[in-house]
């Protein structure tokens, strides 16, 4: 399932975008320090009032004379860090709770399933807001823990359902009769079957984490000394970038958020195509060609084309 998943064009585009941002998160600050020779906090006194993009400041400067590009590069690191950290925490909880509930059954399952339902029904952002706002100047670790700790429920339902069906299969029964421990059965034998569910879920959680962090930072929650996309938009808004028309300040971070969201939607669409074959774009293309051919009387070239197909 995983290889089929990776072969879909939409999934490849989505993964490429996420990969690109990850690379930027890793190398960006280094690039900013050594190639651009700038940090987000550094003030360029020649461009104090926010200059448009030029050769020294590729994305312009803020109203305080700080370089937007280096804000973006450092911001990508914070945003992606929160995305990855919250996704790791969320996926971990998802797997542990989902697989445990699905495999244990009985009273444990009822309790865990209740927990999953309660968390799944919470309006996530409201809860996230109250919890994150309770900590003053929460740093990225704390924000990721809060996001990951709240966002896991949707996936846990899927994992639970999958594990329940796997538990009944012959190979698990065989392993149990051989006397394998439950932990080994879950981790070594069952987990590989779940990878197809887990990997798109992980990607979805990254994007959710990035977006939630951006929304929180936009509302002014989080540590103001950590540059992030949401913080950039917040500062641009509160420091009159709109009034003064400093569009280069708030457009890049929002565009980055859009791309991350777009990447996940692509990946999810790819996943839909696997789970629901009627939606497959490959099938649709074949249908389209078929209908077109049916509509027109077949010409000799078309016949040849169809023969090769």
């Amino acid at each position: 399932m995983l290889t089929r998943f990776l072969l879909i064009g939409k999934v490849q585009i989505g993964l490429a975008i996420i990969g690109l941002f990850t690379l930027t998160a890793i190398l960006g600050p280094w690039f900013s320090r050594n190639v651009l020779e700038m940090t987000p906090q550094q003030v360029d006194y020649l461009h104090l009032n926010g200059g448009p993009p030029d050769s020294t400041h590729w994305l312009g400067t803020t109203s305080q004379g700080q370089d937007v590009l280096s804000w973006m590069l450092y911001g990508t690191r914070t945003s992606m860090l929160v995305g990855f950290a919250s996704a790791v925490i969320g996926t971990f909880l998802t797997i542990v709770i989902g697989a445990w509930a699905g495999f244990a059954g009985g009273l444990i399952d009822r309790f865990l399933n209740g927990t999953i339902l309660v968390f799944g029904n919470f309006p996530t952002f409201a809860l996230l807001f109250i919890v994150a706002a309770a900590f003053q100047n929460a740093n990225w670790v704390l924000v990721s823990i809060v996001i990951g700790g709240i966002e896991w429920a949707g996936g846990a339902r899927q994992i639970r359902a999958q594990t329940m069906s796997l538990r009944g299969r012959d190979f698990t029964t065989a392993l149990r009769t051989v006397g394998e421990s439950r932990a080994r059965i879950i981790l070594v034998e069952v987990m590989p079957h779940l990878l197809g569910v887990i990997s798109p879920m992980f990607l979805g959680l990254i994007a959710a984490g990035v977006n939630q962090q951006a929304a929180l930072a936009f509302l002014g929650i989080g540590n103001p000394s950590e540059p992030s996309w949401g913080l950039m938009i917040n500062w641009a808004m509160t420091q009159n970038a709109l009034f003064r028309g400093l569009w280069w300040w708030f457009i890049p971070p929002g565009l980055a958020l859009c791309l991350i969201g777009f990447a996940t939607t692509m990946v999810n669409f790819g996943l839909d195509e696997i789970t629901n074959p009627t939606l497959s774009s490959k099938r649709m293309k074949l249908m389209r060609i078929f209908l077109r051919d049916k509509a027109r009387p077949a010409s000799p070239t078309r016949q040849k084309e169809m023969a090769t197909r």
């Binding site: 209740g114 339902l117 309660v118 799944g120 029904n121 919470f122 309006p123 996530t124 952002f125 409201a126 809860l127 807001f129 109250i130 919890v131 706002a133 309770a134 900590f135 003053q136 966002e151 429920a153 949707g154 996936g155 339902r157 979805g204 959680l205 959710a208 951006a214 929304a215 936009f218 509302l219 002014g220 929650i221 938009i233 641009a236 808004m237 709109l242 009034f243 028309g245 569009w247 708030f250 457009i251 971070p253 929002g254 958020l257 859009c258 791309l259 991350i260 969201g261 777009f262 939607t265 692509m266 669409f269 839909d272 629901n276 009627t278 939606l279 649709m284 293309k285 249908m287 389209r288």
Partner: protein, 374 residues
Amino acid sequence: MTEPAPIDALGSAASTQRPAEASDDGPTSGRRRPTARSSRLAGLVYLRQRLTMYLIVAFASVLVNFILPRFMPGDPATQMIRDITNRTGAPPSGYQTRMIKARYGDPERPVLLQFWDYISRLVQGDLGQSSQYYPIPVTELIGRALPWTLYLAIVSTILGWMIGTYLGARLGWRPGRRLDAILTPVSMFFSSIPAFWLGLLIVWYLAYSNGWFPNQGAYNNSLEIDFSDPDFYLSALYHGALPLVTLIIVGFARWLFSMRNMMITTVNEDYVQLARAKGLPENRIRNRYAARNALLPNFTGLAQSMGGALTAVILAETVFIYPGIGSLLTGAQAARDYPVMQGVMLMVIFASLLFNFIADSVYVLLDPRTREVT
């Protein structure tokens, strides 16, 4: 992150209710066709389960709201007194201090009793007083802001739903056509735009740069709030246009996808083929046969999405300086006004639970499958 699909929840509800149903009927019934009574019962059992669920979530959110301030350094009463001192420049009087302690719990009082006090005040609709605008009650602040937010949320959701559902029905009827190939990826991109950022772009371009629209407020401030004055309505519409457009652009794509995907699976159903075989006009088959049946998930999704819509509105309002819940919340967050923040969030949670319950009820009413007992 993802709302549980109603059909899934239903499946689990149906499986748990089956044994109870069987024991009710007694051993003689065996396999029999569903009667009106048992079908109504199945729907009610499902609704009761959902209601219990929502009550638990509501209780959990109240609990979180109660516990969090007590985790922070300093208990809420002391913090409140400090806040008021900072805000007004003088420590509150002895009477006020006693009031605050009665309200936020004397730190010496046992926690369980404090929780009981908190709950009983909440039941009476008392959310405490704002520390920023002390002593205005939080409920009053919310009451002032809520109508604007509900107006934006409801109108934008319904308009977005209509646009998305209509386009989705068109696209799903003939998937893979050129319109589908263009519109689907485009709306895919639209759906991933954060509402607050799109709002920022729109307000920058249309309000600040060109001045075609007002850049803040919900109505012309020189007018009074007067519901008999047509000018007031016009000004409210004019001021609300940009936030509404933003929310619709961000929101419609989601309905487009779900409708399109449901249509694709519906167009090959037997009853659609039959309608075709009968030679009915194409439009009629699409609208009356296929779309009507594909509509169900979108219908339940409509009520379910209101919780999420509230969040989007809250974020977008901040950009448009629209005097709703969102601006109240941002103001409170900047001033660290916890009573207001918690009150707003509690209200958002309760509202979205209420809408979810409405969604479940609508689902039971609309889908005959929920009434079937096999």
